[in-house]
């Protein structure tokens, strides 16, 4: 039981903060406002410097371009960069961790270092119009013919499909199969003929959400796959074993720095807003009701932080989650929603004013958050399914109708 960061960890955090202070230029900030992924010219320069410091893919194996460091180090680096709105850190989301876990040696060598360098990026191709939380309902098919798969189907909420190089695609390779059986993962280049990406714009971005909004994606996508032909070498893991292959990747979206920060940053924002100069701020700051509510939210935020630290501790020890990741994915997003709604009632009608509106607070941050905070209780496994997992995996409670 050690709630203090080690001297090494404190040192690392200081170094990252100093790096950001030195290199996060006004030009880069301006660029990030329009391109949160940081792939503009300034962003590339910045990313190259981060790479040079060895701060990408910190916890990944050295032999594939990672640093072989600890997940806690990676968390610290991610937290610092993401706190300033820089999201191109952490190493590629769903794809590479799953490839490291399930890929062939050739796949690891091909994909992982390139992912770290940002040359390859994956968009998660799981959800379909007819299935979201229950991925076992997937209908997108890949039929093997000789050395190729022919893919037909449709994906939805493929968030970065317009900006990535590959889709991490879950398909049904056995057309007779049902539920989890017969699913496979294919690593499909996005530019393969037959793939059409159609934007789906989110409600949080009319007008454009400020950088540090809870769930700030301006766009997600539908992806249509029409007789898409890929070589069988695209298969990750065994054919028909896609369910297990995917599960390794999914938990990583549920915990960690990004999920933590989008859940708790409003706790800090409201306190810091209340501390600003101004009559309204001063009046609210002195109001015992506001003080009580802010403290309540802060304490909930601390629980989110400690649950994140628990997940990182488990990860750091190389142990597996029993229910802790699922518990964090219930607590932190729901806290984010509670905080959002409570803060709105503190701020009053100004909290409905979006970015660019006269009188909007902090560029409409709180209002955009009101439009998007609940999304975090839906994506990457709804809080309902997460509670099922806590009860079943953590507490051993039986399925209905056993």
């Amino acid at each position: 039981m050690d709630f203090e960061f080690t001297p090494h960890q404190k040192q690392l955090r200081s170094e990252v903060q100093a790096f950001i202070a030195d290199h996060m230029t006004a030009a880069l900030k301006a660029e990030l406002k329009d391109d949160a992924r940081g792939s503009g010219p300034e962003g590339e320069v910045f990313f190259a410097k981060i790479m040079a410091r060895g701060w990408t893919a910190v916890s990944w194996p050295k032999e594939y371009g990672g640093q072989g460091g600890s997940p806690m180090d990676q968390f610290i680096i991610e937290e610092e960069f993401q706190r300033v709105g820089y999201k191109r850190i952490g190493g590629g989301g769903t794809g590479a961790p799953a490839i490291l876990a399930s890929g062939t040696e050739e796949q690891k060598r091909h994909f992982v270092p390139a992912t770290i360098k940002g040359e390859i990026s994956f968009s998660q191709g799981y959800s379909e119009p007819g299935c979201g939380t229950d991925l076992a309902g997937i209908q997108c098919r890949a039929i093997r013919t000789g050395d190729t798969y022919v893919i037909n189907g449709q994906k939805i909420y493929t968030t970065s499909a317009h900006a990535c190089t590959h889709i991490f695609l879950m398909v049904r390779t056995d057309p007779q199969s049902k539920r989890q059986a017969g699913l496979s993962i294919l690593l499909v280049p996005i530019d393969t003929p037959g793939i059409t990406v159609r934007p789906l714009w989110t409600i949080q971005n009319e007008p454009r959400a400020p950088t540090l909004t809870t769930y700030g994606e301006p766009r997600t996508n539908e992806v249509f796959l029409d007789n898409v032909v890929v070589p069988v070498s695209c298969l990750l893991g065994q054919e028909g074993d896609g369910w297990a292959v995917a599960r390794r990747g999914l938990n990583l979206d549920r915990v960690g720095a990004w999920r933590y920060l989008i859940s708790v940053m409003r706790d800090e924002d409201i306190v810091n807003w209340l501390k600003e100069d101004g009559d309204r701020n001063a009046t609210l700051r002195a109001d015992p009701r506001v003080r009580d509510k802010v403290a309540e939210l802060w304490i909930e935020g601390q629980v989110a932080r400690l649950m994140t630290m628990r997940s990182m501790s488990i990860s750091q020890r190389g142990e597996a989650f029993s229910y802790e990741g699922a518990a964090e994915k219930v607590w932190a997003p729901e806290h984010g929603v509670r905080a959002t709604e409570a803060i709105s009632q503190i701020l009053g009608p100004s909290a409905q004013l979006l970015n660019g509106s006269p009188d909007a607070l902090d560029d409409g941050l709180f209002a955009h958050n009101l439009l998007g905070a609940f999304q975090s209780t839906v994506n990457h496994g709804s809080v309902q399914v997460m509670r099922d997992q806590v009860a079943r995996n953590g507490l051993g409670m039986p399925r209905a109708g056993r």
């Binding site: 989110t202 007008p207 997600t220 309204r280 009053g348 409905q352 209002a367």
Partner: protein, 396 residues
């Protein structure tokens, strides 16, 4: 005591529901969101043509003079379809004019009922408090004119409204005043706000705006009482719209859950979803009962400030809960602009912040409970002294 609808009430409710289901479609709602004045003139014309604007206004101006609770039911239906018409401001101000207007102002009701005159009100100021204590817009008399200087915020439909009922404070220390002014008067600058509801809200800046003295509403001694009445009407009708919208969001979630499958069965068969739907229903029902009681009392001329406060405070939390849970049950769909589901969420999110926040309304309830003599009891009259006095004045 019978809190259920009468046959007549149900008939009006159903007529409004059927009309709006046909006419106030999501397509129309979306068009209005993109229209410069954020309303549908076609729908407004139909609303007027069918007589909805006069439902609770005097017969002599073309109205039907039905009790205010009928108008409350219409607001529930307007909210249910998020109908893009400037009904709130128009009906709030029309009610005030019907009760307190000069003959010339009363005569305007005919235009209102025909749909030819949109009305709006201006109470809040940039400090955002829903309280007459926050009114700083300064008024002074200069001969036959009232001169106004200062600011107003969160004013609906200022670009389409022909008249705006403004609350101000006399610089001579004589207290509050009200005036029914034209938004196009020289010296008024409107700045549009961008809200989550994508509707027409604005800030107004008044620079030595000269208003004919005849456009004042009520006597100076009545101004505070009338302004409170106006605020109560606005808060109550907003709450009724929230109830309608949250009810529809609940309905949509239930229907979606019945046909959406996961894990081999409709998600509506999962107990977690069923219990969410039950809580949504219970929360919306509670808000509906509270607001119907408040509007019913207002219609009877009974004190209702506390009842309005109760309803708005409760609806702010429970109606938002219901639309948010509806988003949750819809999964990713609720977050995507091109699906309709989000239309309800964005409005209720905004409405929960208008006409008084939860802490503001609860403070009034607490005042009625704790700051007067004698024990309290649920179901007994709980009117504030101030409120009772106002009601007496208004009736006289």
């Amino acid at each position: 005591m019978d809190v259920l609808l009468t046959d007549d009430e149900r008939a009006v409710q159903q007529a409004a529901a059927e009309f709006l289901a046909t006419e106030a479609t999501p397509v129309l709602v979306r068009q209005a969101e993109r229209a410069p004045d954020r309303m549908s003139h076609e729908l407004w014309a139909k609303v007027a043509e069918l007589g909805w604007l006069g439902i609770s206004l005097p017969e002599q101006y073309g109205g039907q003079n039905l009790p205010l609770s009928y108008l409350g039911l219409v607001f529930e239906e307007l909210g249910r379809r998020t109908a893009p018409v400037p009904m709130l401001g128009t009906m709030v101000v029309a009610q005030i004019l019907a009760r307190h207007g000069s003959p010339a102002q009363l005569a305007l009701l005919e235009q209102v009922i025909k749909g030819d005159l949109i009305l709006t009100y201006a109470v809040q100021e940039p400090d955002t408090r829903w309280s007459l204590d926050a009114v700083e817009l300064a008024g002074r008399m200069d001969g036959e004119h009232l001169v106004l200087s200062g600011q107003k915020a969160f004013v609906d439909n200022i670009h389409t409204a022909g008249k705006c009922l403004v609350v101000f404070r006399m610089s001579d220390g004589s207290g509050l005043g009200l005036a029914l002014i034209e938004p196009t008067l020289p010296g008024i600058d409107a700045t549009d706000l961008i809200t989550t509801a994508a509707d027409a809200e604005a800030m107004l800046r008044f620079t030595d705006v000269r208003v004919p003295a005849a456009d004042r509403v009520g006597t100076p001694g009545q101004a505070r009482a009338i302004a409170l009445e106006m605020m109560d009407l606005a808060a109550a009708f907003t709450t009724a719209m929230m109830v309608g919208a949250a009810g529809e969001a609940t309905h949509r979630a239930v229907e979606y859950a019945k046909q959406r499958n996961a894990f081999g069965q409709p998600i509506g068969s999962f107990q977690a979803i069923q219990h969410m739907a039950a809580d949504m229903t219970i929360g919306v029902d509670g808000a509906q009962l509270l607001v119907r009681e408040a509007i019913s009392r207002m219609g009877l001329g009974l004190p209702a400030r506390v009842e309005v406060a109760q309803a708005k405070a409760f609806a702010n939390e429970k109606c938002l809960m219901a639309v948010r849970m509806s988003q949750q049950i819809h999964g990713g769909i609720g977050f995507i602009a091109e699906f309709d589901q989000q239309l309800w969420y964005r409005r209720v999110a905004a409405w929960s912040l208008r006409c008084g926040t939860t802490p503001e309304h609860r403070a009034l309830v607490a005042e009625s409970l704790l700051d007067r003599q004698g024990p309290v009891r649920l179901g007994y009259d709980q009117s504030l002294q101030d409120d009772a006095m106002r009601a007496a004045r208004v009736r006289s």
